[in-house]
Symmetry: C2
Subunit: 143 residues, 2 copies
DNA sequence: CTAGGTGCAAAAGGTTTGCGGTTAA
DNA sequence: TTAACCGCAAACCTTTTGCACCTAG
């Protein structure tokens, strides 16, 4: 998978803006996340990345995922005690985790709901980030 | 800290209902969580529990916290990659994590908002649990 | 040129597991 | 009586770190 010109520029800009360098590895990891948006763990990203870049190390995968998160192009998704997953969907959304299939789906949220949630905060509190995670059964797995 | 009769009965019932035994250790861990509701980690619970029960082991603390969670009397709270925290507040609420002070506060939520969130799910999906975590700065830590 | 990034291997840190002995029901 | 639980220590697994080499800017 190659990064399109558009995404390469987006990435380079985002990295530069956050004082980080654009490297082959970071571009490749970004392309892996864009290529299959199924919320892979670092280990899964590592496996996919090695398919086209066999010399990349797991530590570098973690470093790249961290750099991409810091640049704002990638979000980390955490479920309970499970390994962190990574997601290149930047719209406001929650995650639904189906305990039956193990699958994770994006759930689109309106800005209204986000604002409504923020309005529940005590005065003076400011939220930089809101994580919303549903646990349950998805349509296919339901009885 | 001793468990009041009311809480002891609540605990015994909840454990029995989920096919688990009431043990001295589980009662003690429950009393620790009720005694100081500041969302301690397993390690902090361990330290507090040992004050009155020096022979308890960390593995047992984990076992008890797991048993209490399974019984429904305790909730696990996860923030990013940090250690799991435990909480005996059973009302519908979210958590606010202040990155400055490290403090975690409960944020009460109305049933309406919970219902509104559930209504965002695709048809057929059922959520058994919704985790909502805010990250930011609380009033005291704000600039 | 040089600060930042990479690859490797080892360490860290939270959580789980295996096992012999103990206990609630 | 006996399945479940406890305490201890070792194992596990994800993530981080230290260090020598490399590379983007």
């Amino acid at each position: 998978m190659q990064l399109t010109q558009e995404y390469r520029e987006k990435l380079d800009g985002a990295l530069r803006r956050t004082g980080q360098r654009a490297t082959r590895q970071r571009e490749h990891i970004f392309s892996v996340l864009l290529g299959k948006r199924d919320h892979p763990t670092a280990d899964e990203v590592y496996a996919r990345a090695r398919a086209e870049m066999p010399s990349i190390s797991l530590a570098t995968v973690y470093n790249c995922l961290e750099a991409l998160s810091a640049s704002g192009l990638v979000k980390q998704v955490n479920f309970e005690r499970e390994p962190t997953r990574y997601c290149a969907n930047l719209t406001a959304h929650a995650h639904f985790y189906c305990k039956e299939s193990g699958e994770i789906q994006d759930v689109e949220l309106s800005e209204q709901i986000i604002d409504l949630l923020k309005s529940c905060l005590p005065a003076g509190h400011t939220a930089h980030r809101i994580d919303i995670a549903f646990d349950g059964k998805c349509g296919e797995c339901d009885d």
